[in-house]
């Protein structure tokens, strides 16, 4: 048998720095003098140089959010709430290399006619990927605009054929202490694991509800929830669960992690609503990343036309 023993210094082909990035590093070094002039320019260059190259995706552009002003990739990939890595929003970008996005399978189970496993490679190769620019509003009061790449959740669910008993959809993040350091800390962990989220079936089937596998033209960086995450643009960010391994169709409303931790402050619905404050802070305005000035938060994060009808006759103060 021919056993290939890799020497200590061996690195695989895809870890090799791309030539263009290597050249950029040269450019960056030339900027040494400029360092004294503007720190922000340098920070951007530095970030560009140190990024791991991401695989580009084939996708179709759409008109979703075409008039919105995008946040930069650096902003969206260095400000992440990913408690499986850290409570600090800058840390996931540094720590998330332990997440192994391939191979990856999602199990679809519960109240469906076709329980199934979907291999991530299948989604990359044989699903019609599209780009959608969405607003993203965190319950903490900050927001950003991100070009996501993926497919609608409805597209996936229709393949599994939910039964008439399927009233809710429950999502679960991968539980793997090897990948997620905070999952090793047991009861001392930041939050209980695995992270769970849920949607009502009509919310899940809504055309806006998106399963993202990429952003800014390429696959998701690990810290943004690789290899596949939910994006529900009219709800606070914590609903948009990352690194999903299980989608279960259920009859009862699932208990989502933040509601479990603090039910008086975080509910199941978590719709963006400037009129219903968080008990500790106002939700009337938001801080768009990179800006010193706040802007008004819109009802349903600006997606009222698409989703307001889902909640008519509901008291959104009680069902926050």
């Amino acid at each position: 048998m021919n056993i290939l023993k890799k020497p200590d210094w061996y690195i695989s082909e895809n870890e090799v720095t791309d030539e263009t990035l290597f050249e950029k590093r040269r450019d960056f070094l030339k900027l040494g003098a400029a360092a004294l002039v503007s720190s922000s320019v340098v920070a951007e260059k530095l970030a560009a140089v140190e990024k791991i190259p991401r695989q580009a995706l084939d996708f179709k552009k759409t008109s979703f959010g075409k008039d919105l002003e995008l946040n930069s990739f650096d902003q969206a990939s260095t400000y992440n709430n990913f408690y499986e890595f850290s409570l600090n929003k800058k840390d996931p970008a540094k720590l998330a290399h332990t997440l192994k996005p391939t191979p990856w399978e999602i199990e679809i189970s519960g109240e469906v006619e076709n329980p199934m496993y979907i291999d991530l490679q299948e989604i990359f190769s044989s699903y019609p990927l599209e780009e959608r620019i969405y607003r993203f509003r965190c319950v903490e009061g900050w927001s950003m605009v991100v070009p996501w790449i993926g497919i609608t959740l409805a597209h996936i669910l229709k393949k599994a054929k939910p039964t008439s008993k399927a009233k809710y959809v429950k999502f679960i993040t991968e539980l793997d202490p090897e990948m997620f350091p905070d999952q090793r800390r047991g009861i001392f962990g930041n939050i209980p694991y695995p992270y769970v989220e849920g949607l009502r079936i009509d919310e899940a089937m809504n055309n806006l509800t998106f399963m993202a596998v990429g952003m800014y033209g390429k696959v998701l960086p690990n810290q943004n929830g690789a290899p596949i995450r939910l994006v529900v643009p009219w709800k606070y960010g914590f609903k948009s669960i990352k690194s999903i391994v299980n989608i279960e169709l259920v009859e009862e409303e699932p208990l989502n992690t933040w509601k479990q931790i603090n039910p008086t402050e975080y509910g199941f619905y978590a719709n963006v609503n400037p009129k219903v404050d968080h008990p500790r802070w106002s939700q009337a305005r938001e801080r768009k990343l990179g800006s010193f000035f706040k802007v008004k938060t819109e009802m349903f994060n600006g997606y009222s036309n698409e989703v307001a009808s889902l909640y008519k006759n509901m008291d959104l103060r009680k069902l926050y």
Binding site: S40, Y79, W142, I191, D277, P279, R280, R287
Partner: protein, 183 residues
């Protein structure tokens, strides 16, 4: 001379803030965290000088450290009023009345403001008893800092422990000896 040196040292965090905030993703939040932590750390430092007096007597620096704690609290307040509330006075009043998180901070700020105003030699002689309210500030600010988080991290636990130690010391040395026994 040493005081002038300390004055510059304690100003450095502010200069660092002016520089570092330019590249922050969420500058308003960053200013809150930075000024709040600076103020709380300086408050704790100023209150630690008495317990360590027998080891090393730094009491003559207490006033400057305390005033700097107020300075960073003042920046924290300005960030709330100017950038966060965008000078909307009605909003500030409403939030202060509505939200425990905000009024704990606001009460603390007002006490520190009063202490800063009465920190001159002459006024301190008159108001030094009232300056004991700084221990109330310590309690309120520790709670304020803790509920600023969605879940507590080791940093907040550290503040809670340190606050308990400082309060325990104060109780042990100042309050207990003054309680008269029955006999």
């Amino acid at each position: 001379m040493k005081k002038a040196f300390l004055f510059v040292i304690l100003l450095l965090p502010f200069l660092y803030l002016l520089w570092s905030v330019q590249t922050e993703n969420d500058p308003i939040k960053y200013i809150f965290t930075f000024t709040g932590l600076s103020s709380l750390v300086l408050l704790i430092t100023s209150l630690s000088l008495r317990p360590i007096k027998k080891v090393i007597n730094l009491m003559r620096y207490r006033k400057m450290i305390g005033l700097y704690a107020f300075f960073y609290a003042f920046l924290h307040f300005l960030n709330f009023y100017i950038l966060d509330a965008q000078l909307d006075f009605a909003f500030v009043v409403k939030e202060t009345i509505d939200k425990p998180f905000v009024y704990l901070g606001m009460i603390s700020f007002l006490i520190l403001f009063f202490m800063a105003l009465t920190s001159t030699k002459k006024l301190f002689l008159k108001f030094n008893k009232q300056h004991k309210a700084v221990y109330l500030v310590l309690i309120l600010v520790t709670i304020h800092a803790s509920i600023a988080q969605k879940v507590l991290s080791s940093l907040e636990y550290t503040f809670i422990v340190v606050t308990c130690i400082l309060l325990g010391y104060r109780f042990y040395t100042m309050v207990l000896p003054n309680i008269k026994p029955y006999s």
